[in-house]
Symmetry: C2
Subunit: 233 residues, 2 copies
Amino acid sequence: MKSPSDIIIKSDDHPKRGQYAKRVSILDAAAEVFCREGFSGACIDEIAAEACVSRQTVYNHYHEKETLFTAVVEDVMKRVNAVLFSTLSTFPDTSDNLQEDLTAFAVRLTKNCTCTHDGKFLRKLVLQEGDRYPHLFEVWRQQGPCKTTKALAALFARLNHQGVLDIDDFDLAARQFLALVNADMQMVVLFGGVLSDEELQVSAQNAVRTFLRAYGHVTEKEQGSRISALSGV
Amino acid sequence: MKSPSDIIIKSDDHPKRGQYAKRVSILDAAAEVFCREGFSGACIDEIAAEACVSRQTVYNHYHEKETLFTAVVEDVMKRVNAVLFSTLSTFPDTSDNLQEDLTAFAVRLTKNCTCTHDGKFLRKLVLQEGDRYPHLFEVWRQQGPCKTTKALAALFARLNHQGVLDIDDFDLAARQFLALVNADMQMVVLFGGVLSDEELQVSAQNAVRTFLRAYGHVTEKEQGSRISALSGV
DNA sequence: GTCAAATTAGACACTGTTGTCTAAAACGTC
DNA sequence: GACGTTTTAGACAACAGTGTCTAATTTGAC
């Protein structure tokens, strides 16, 4: 009915051809179904259908459900981590307009990492199957979130050195920055809600304002009043 | 083999007898299995075995798997919300020793609500099956977390009125307080890790310290140094 | 002790899923 | 255009889980 050249045009940017295209297609579909149904609830037939591929093809590439699952998880983790570190590299390196720069950074963080399809998938997965595959997720945690905190801590240390921040425990500051940035996400994202760009902006602004109130150097005390005017939503 | 009076002594405090005992036993076992395996992965036979009850008894009480599942969720939600509000009622009402009082409150919050078995279960459940039962969880969210934030906001407003805090948006402050308190929990709790009492204490201390730095009234500036000495771990 | 209600083990039909196997078709590379 | 590889649809066995039914047993209240 459908020729394969139709099939590979799924929702991907550059439709790769041949065997590789199938792999990607299967991986994407599997991610979708695993995320929606959980491991036990997901059924290979459904995945095959969603990937526009026969069931046998799925079994050709990944011998069994378990293999497919771990492949999907590793794939998503790799993507998420890549985006995470690429976003981290946009951390402001100048200290003028710190409030605005940090806010923009926080927005990027939420938009690229937290509120992403992959992001939600991974969060769901970790919680859902973390107990069953401790090693799989522990490795990711070390390479991802833990490294992120360390990197962020180093970046804050730099700002501290420049004299614009007053932090004694950089690691703690990093964790708290992330917590504040995600403060409004938790509940909304959990329920599939989507925040508008404006809401994202306000949320990030609030997070950064509080962060800078706690850690901003005393000389910048005029910030407090300035930003409270901005966040009038 | 086993007499029912043996069975009901599971891990409960006061072993209720008769029909009610079975219901409780089933509900507990089901919560355990649903949490471990997810809805699709959970099997009635396993639940029945874990509850020391025949499969038929499960079907007598809850006609089908779906019914049992929603019953379990509602049960856990009720318990979690009850503990949540009972903990909220212990919010400090005097403003001397605010740092210590708030820290103790934060510890109670994490110990009673976040790091609980029920707490983790609910978080897992919301993420896992939230899409499938939007109404179920939306009601809970309104009655639980949303109300919590409102209540906490009101409590902060009271402290603000007493002049010990300098908050302009109480609701935001409440959300950020919760975010800071949970900053260290997220990753650890996700992976089934358990924080020691000491770690819990330090984490709460750090959260409150940052919160008060951001929102504490300027006159209390000596707090910053005092607490940083405390949190030397 | 009696009796109604609840519980039990086990068998049962039914459905859905996994993973294998086949033969036919489509592919891509030369 | 020929040939080896990949994909496909469909049938298939094996299995696991749901939900029903039955007949025997146990329970608790009187």
